[in-house]
Amino acid sequence: MVELLPLWSAGLAVGLALTSALVALFSGRVVSLLRILAMPLFALAGLAALVAGLSAMVQGDILTAQLPLGLPWLPWRVRLDALAGFFLCVIGVVSFAVGIYGGGYVRGLEHGRDSLPVLGGFSGLFLTGMLLVVLADDAFMFMVSWELMSLSSYFLVALHHDQAANRRAAFLYLLMAHVGGLSILLGYGVLAAFGDGFAFEAMRSSELTFGWASVAFVLAFIGFGMKAGLVPLHVWLPEAHPVAPSHISALMSGVMLKVAVYGFIRFVFDLIGEIHWQWGVAVLAVGSISALMGVLYALMQQDIKRLLAYSSVENIGIIFIGLGLALLFLGTGHKMLAVVAFVAALYHTINHALFKGLLFLGAGAILHSAHERNLEQMGGLLRRMPWTGAFFLIGCISIAALPPFNGFVSEWLTFQAALQSWQLDSGVLRSLIPITAAVLALTGALAAACFLKVYGVAFLGRARSRHVRRARQVPPSMRAGQGVLALLCLLLGVLPTFVIALLNVVPQQILGQGLIQATSQGWLWLTPISPETASYGAPLVTITLALMLIAGLWLFGRGIRRVKRCDAWDSGFAPPNPRMQYTATAFAQPIRRVFGLLFHIDEGVKLQPDGRRRYQLNVNDRLWELLYLPVARGVERAARQVVRLQSGNVRTYLSWTLATLLVLLWIMA
């Protein structure tokens, strides 16, 4: 019984998520049902998934079961191994926090125009879809759950469909999700053709030639990369994620992107079979470009949720840098180094889920109490919302990869893996990886600038508009949801050895080797390669920092001695007013100027009809005009050609149908 706990718990999670969806359907009549019952059920589903994932990782067994669902010759099979367990943890922990937070958040929507049954129902289905993707053991169930996840999140993106921009974002999301889904389906098709069957077990035993394996890899990379938001397939992400309600944005950015990462790992590391280093180079290159472009675009945003969405592109890029290094090391036969890079990628996966979830919940709290998403209108929120401000600061420090928080640990591990590139035989690869490391370093520094901008403009200084000045503290449940994630950000940063000891079973099962040496020096020392090569005493750093801070405060601060207040000095000019503060745009101006070539900048002074002049600045994605608009125009042109067939005559249509049928029959024969 105990050995089946993970499976039962995972089943319970799916059941609870479905119940939450079902309960929410009745919230049209009883408005408070969503808050009182559906969201707690959602949190419980997250908790059950967390228990399932943790117990599966601790046990280290592979559990399988067969569901009484699916096609007659292809019953749905579920499988819970360490990799699935890890991703259940990622889904579970964020869903748990979102469930707690959602209770307070949806209260603000109860008297609005939003349809609560749609919100609650699709939230539950969304969670169900994500859980089932991770549990699936055959391509059929995987694709059905994948589409469930994509479609239910589409309805959540389209929740505020009264605005044209939101409808456009939702449509773009739907379109991209389906192109990606198609690509994944074709990828599974290649594996199934060689492996004789859609079960993952059959695919694992298939033997592909390099050519076909590469075709499958490219299809999977495009499909999962599109869902994960890798550049240049990311354009839907900054449109769709900000539009959804904030706790759903947290799920989409924090968790759904990770499900895509899961799909990629399952497909490439587990199912394809032999791994070739050329794939690693491709993943590394795309990951590096995503990381850099993501953070640069994030820096240019003024909408806080859009900024966070672009920053997800950056973090997914960092995860794929780790995965690319792992592929590269695997393909050249350095398994131990591959494990380091793989663990770094997994570590960043859970880290990003935690801090991005936290930051989106924080943005939701601002939206809830100040009704504002535009950074240029914010300011001084730390004094009005101290708890949210403190948690948001933790999120910012974590995502900026600063010690002693969690983002730093995964970045440190990625650097350690990259620094082992001297062991490679090929001179080209040896010199390629340091360039990636340089990109990663630049990304980290720019991310710090980006989140400094967010925090400094939103929470510090003085309010730039009246409604932000009136912002109030959010309800306790919303604070608790953020608090859970903030605490975990700290714990994962301070105690990396425990996390890696737990994570170890994933590479053991997937790659056949664990990272035992990382924790061999006791829990104080993280030594991923060997104690001589590199070590990081995260608990010691944290304790020393804390002790020195306390000592400093005790010596000079003498507890909470009152400090006399006065006007701001500001070099002795006239007393500063809120409009004299640096804005978000001004803050990013030097960086915009240096990296100007990468953006499509539309800047100028326009003469208004009333004779006043107005400064305008638009920074847009350059990829739109380079990649997407030509494709869109091409599709439109092709559609115009097809219109010629549309004569309006039924007999013509019937003859076309007959001709198609004949051609198909001829092909089949």
Partner: protein
Amino acid sequence: MSLSSWGVALLQALLYLALAPLLAGWVRKVKARLQNRRGASLLQPYRDLYKLFGKEARMAHTASPLFRAAPYIVFTATWLAASAIPFIATGLPTAAVADVIVIAGLLALARFFLALAGMDVGTAFGGMGASREMFVSALAEPAMLMAVFTLAMTAHSTNLSSMVDYQLLHSDILRPSYMFALTGLVLVALAETGRIPVDNPGTHLELTMIHEAMILEYSGRHLALMEWAAQLKLLLYGVLLVNVFFPWGMAQGIHPGALTIGLLVVMTKLLLLGAVLAASETALAKMRLFRVPAMLNLALLLALLGLLSYVILEV
């Protein structure tokens, strides 16, 4: 790792605190002499700190609690980063607690809070300083990491103590990668410590300020901590340059005699470095802000060249 080596590590950390104002005073003194002034005494930075600690601290009405906490965080993070860099001896346990990436991370943490404090009061200068600081550091940090990665790859370790040991052991080889890395790191150090030609620590002239703009609102003990942290950072980069690239004379154990020699040697090296810094600050003019990226890109390019010349030529 015995108790006595932790003791030496603590001593080394305290030495950093004690000597940081001295280096700042020395640079100022040499600069004054080069400009035909007599200059203030070498002990003037200590007197300034003492005076500031005794003065009353004031805060703006609009300042948040973060403004008050920031000086302590900036100071402790900088000090912790410094104490992990081998100063007079190698093989100390502090180098294992924080390797060179952690040191860069701690410095980034200090900078993050420094810039947050700049934005906290809501003045135009504070925001300007914060924006410029993050701009400069965003370009300088990758260059710094690339430069130290060159050494780390050569020594097969990111532990600074091992890197120094490796350099001591293989000092007979002249490595082109080290030359590149050294030049890159010197440029980065100028930018990160806010010296001419990137920033001028001696002026409050509004349009050129970076570091001073962020700490404009501080007074009393808060200002003292911020100033001390800046002096620590100068010493930190100085020690990093002289000890990693020219480590001869450092103690390789915790023998008191070797430690004394190590201290004397490193002080001589730092005095020389300080004199060179003063001379270059006298000879150079401050750059326009938008010329700085060119300089830092050069630093990044040099550091990357160092790394590439290592992986291509020297493996």
